[in-house]
Symmetry: C2
Subunit: 348 residues, 2 copies
């Protein structure tokens, strides 16, 4: 039953491709997770990028108008940025209308719905275009049962939002497969769903059903199969911990991998809140996760070292690994450290 | 700003009264929280009860048909029961249709909406009656900020669902007022909202906004004013912990009071899960709550001893109080133990 529900959820996702990535006027990379995620993990689906401010972040793709993107094959523009509250900023509107006029559908994963903006709705109707919302959760999500499911599960957890939980899950799922282990990446957020073509937008689910949504996200599987589940938020986040706890309880992970960005001492956008220590973040996830899986353990730590040199990154990872007695690796750098992390996650 | 939002939420609640309480075919009192809550805390609003099965629980009110209830003054029938998933059972339908035909509006607080049932919608239109859903959360709930608000806050937390969190909050708010302390009961669930005439149905809020909803539920107040907030679920519940954690973080309580039913060794409806020990439940609430209020403390424990004699209850409460070095009381029994609990909650 849960398996068939999970299948039904995934099926509605069928997006027009390839994409033009819209960056708005966002100047902080942490708020452009969707654009960077698509560029890094589905580069063949991205023909270029568009911003509405010259100092906006860049994915490194060619900047182009919607018209040019259409000529180069794009069939949809993805709103690749987010802001607290997930609203459509008025300053974005001219670019969004341009895209519709140029023949591109709009794809978004924000809380605010595209079709709730009358200007967009009217323009989409005028030009015969679609407004697609990947954050609308499936209907009929059940209350969690707490029943232990078959198969193995890994959940990425974090010291903060926008810290590498999706990247880590994608890299681990790919590494598991490369070793011949049956594995599926399970997407819990808009970008992941755009990359994977399915999943459940966990932060858009009504709270009472949060753990239940996580249960249908990773249904019963073969005993040696791994679901590698994209984490959300952080148990130590003043706004989003509810999402994290429901996902943790419903995922019943055998293994958690903690994601962290060295040097991030304050929560992104919440400067009054300190990032928790790694050992505390691991402990609270194991403590709370033990409710639905008493055998939960930490497979290691994933560092986002994109702001560091290779040498700096290696030194930091080695020190942290010694401190915690756990593998510490940056999945995007790979190498022996990452292989040790994979080994430890898969260790019987 | 938050204060004005909170006011806007409360304003839509304006219910036709008095009530006929509908018990369906529920045989376990734990699933009839709404009916019992209304009978105990708003007895003057309840003219009688109706069940559709002879072995259903009873609130002790006179059983009567909707027609008779109307003659006795009732203007709405409240669906006073819940089941896992919050659905409208087909076996309830004849009674609901009877009520509409008799001239009663229907009030419900389940996940399933009354107006989504075509039979009910058609009947309501035919008879000119209203279908009122107190679980629809207000629009425009913001993301939590984590900003510390003025005033004092108490949150009731629990070892399980349906264990006395609403009763305890109502009793404490009444006791605070009786001592001349400015206090408001803040309702977070359907029954509480029906009693209080306002509040936020926390379990129906989208997860990303859960802590934000708790923030607007108890806005800035005078420094010596107490908001006494009705808790939801339990951090140790496999289905509902997300609701509990968002409410805890957003409430920023200065004081938590743990609610428990002695003898309940398994979670209601989740027999594979043990009820946590009192000391563990207190510890995890203080640990997680410290994120948004580092000064959080436990004011004491509230026992639901409705299944025990006065003597049994007194012995149990005294032993638990000695074990935990905290006041332990049953608010419905009152007495010196309850006064000690109130003292300790208000202690500077």
């Amino acid at each position: 039953m849960t398996a068939s529900l999970a299948r039904r959820e995934s099926s509605p996702v069928s997006l027009p491709q390839p994409y033009l990535l819209f960056l708005g006027d966002v100047t902080e990379a942490g708020f452009a997770k969707t654009a960077f995620g698509l560029k890094d993990w589905a580069a063949d689906l991205c023909v270029g990028e568009l911003a509405c401010s010259s100092d906006a972040v860049t994915t490194g793709l060619t900047r182009m108008t919607p018209k040019k993107a259409y000529v180069r094959g794009a069939r949809a523009m993805v709103i690749g940025v987010a802001n607290p509250g997930g609203v459509i900023k008025p300053s974005w509107m001219p670019s969004l209308l341009d895209a519709l006029e140029a023949g591109l559908d709009l794809i978004a994963g924000m809380h605010a719905r595209l079709e709730d903006a009358p200007e967009l709705k009217a323009a989409a109707e005028r030009y015969g275009r679609k407004l697609i919302d990947v954050r609308r959760p499936p209907a009929g999500i059940p209350i969690a049962t707490g029943r232990k499911r078959t198969g193995k599960r890994l959940l990425t957890v974090g010291t903060d939002c926008a810290i590498g939980k999706k990247y880590t899950a994608l890299a681990l799922a790919a590494a598991f497969k490369a070793r011949g282990v049956g594995a599926d990446f399970r997407a819990s957020g808009q970008t992941g769903i755009m990359i994977a073509g399915g999943g459940v937008p966990m932060d858009a689910v009504v709270s009472d059903f949060e753990a239940g949504a996580a249960e249908i996200l990773s249904p019963d599987a073969a005993p040696d199969h791994w679901d590698v589940i994209e984490g959300q938020g952080s148990l130590s986040h003043p706004a989003y911990a509810a999402v994290s706890l429901g996902l943790l309880h419903g995922s019943q992970p055998d293994v958690v991998v903690l994601c962290h960005e060295p040097g991030r001492e304050r929560l992104l956008g919440f400067p009054e809140f300190r990032t928790p220590s790694l050992i505390d973040a691991i402990a609270v996830n194991l403590q709370m996760g033990a409710l639905t899986n008493p055998n939960i353990r930490c497979g290691g730590v994933s560092f986002n070292t994109s702001a560091l040199t290779q040498q700096e990154a290696e030194v930091l990872m080695a020190v942290a690994s010694t401190a915690l007695s756990l593998p510490v690796a940056d999945p995007l750098r790979g190498g022996p450290a990452f292989e040790r992390l994979v080994d430890n996650c898969l260790a019987p």
